[in-house]
Amino acid sequence: SQQGEEDPQALSIQEGENATMNCSYKTSINNLQWYRQNSGRGLVHLILIRSNEREKHSGRLRVTLDTSKKSSSLLITASRAADTASYFCTSNSGYSTLTFGKGTMLLVSP
């Protein structure tokens, strides 16, 4: 299993603050992806980082990958109320299907 395990399970912050969530996985991977699910909506792909990359940026998102520790982190800077959602990481080794953890539930208060 390539299951990603997110940490913390829940995070509550104020608008404008940064939010950091972490993910660990078990075996070697080709890439790792982060998804977001807003309440009542589908999963939205946020960012993909390949195993040979260490850091990637997309707008207010910054993802790091440490393959030696089999972990990744997602940083959301200057958070907004609209960032309130569940965040999931998932990894694959090329031929396996995506496996998700329980996610980190982020609550951003105005």
């Binding site: 992806q33 589908g42 999963l43 792909h45 031929y95 299907t97 995506l98 998700f100």
Partner: protein, 113 residues
């Protein structure tokens, strides 16, 4: 370009009834996946189609679940008879290249009472 669509968005049925969920992948995507999230638990893989063929159905919970993808376009997932534990959100995803970035639909929320 239209994304992955799912129908219905929400279904409420009684235990023992039958429900059919539909997924329309992004045009041209040969790979289609079904996932399920039961309340408070992880999103779990159910099965994977490549065109009309079932590539991997190791995640299907039991024989009450039947997935089809006739013609390799849209897919249906039938639950018959539905049980209380089948309640959850059923996601469909598609990708052009296997295990590449998967595009998810909005999900169908199934409530079995």
């Amino acid at each position: 370009e239209a994304g992955v669509t799912q129908f219905p968005s929400h279904s409420v049925i009684e235990k023992g009834q039958t429900v059919t969920l539909r997924c329309d992948p992004i045009s041209g995507h040969d790979n289609l996946y079904w996932y399920r999230r039961v309340m408070g638990k992880e999103i779990k893989f159910l099965l994977h189609f490549v065109k009309e063929s079932k590539q991997d159905e190791s995640g299907m919970p039991n024989n009450r679940f039947l997935a089809e993808r006739t013609g390799g376009t849209y897919s249906t997932l039938k639950v018959q008879p539905a049980e209380l534990e089948d309640s959850g959100v059923y996601f469909c995803a598609s990708s052009q290249v296997r295990v590449a970035e998967q595009y998810f639909g909005p999900g169908t929320r199934l409530t079995v009472t």
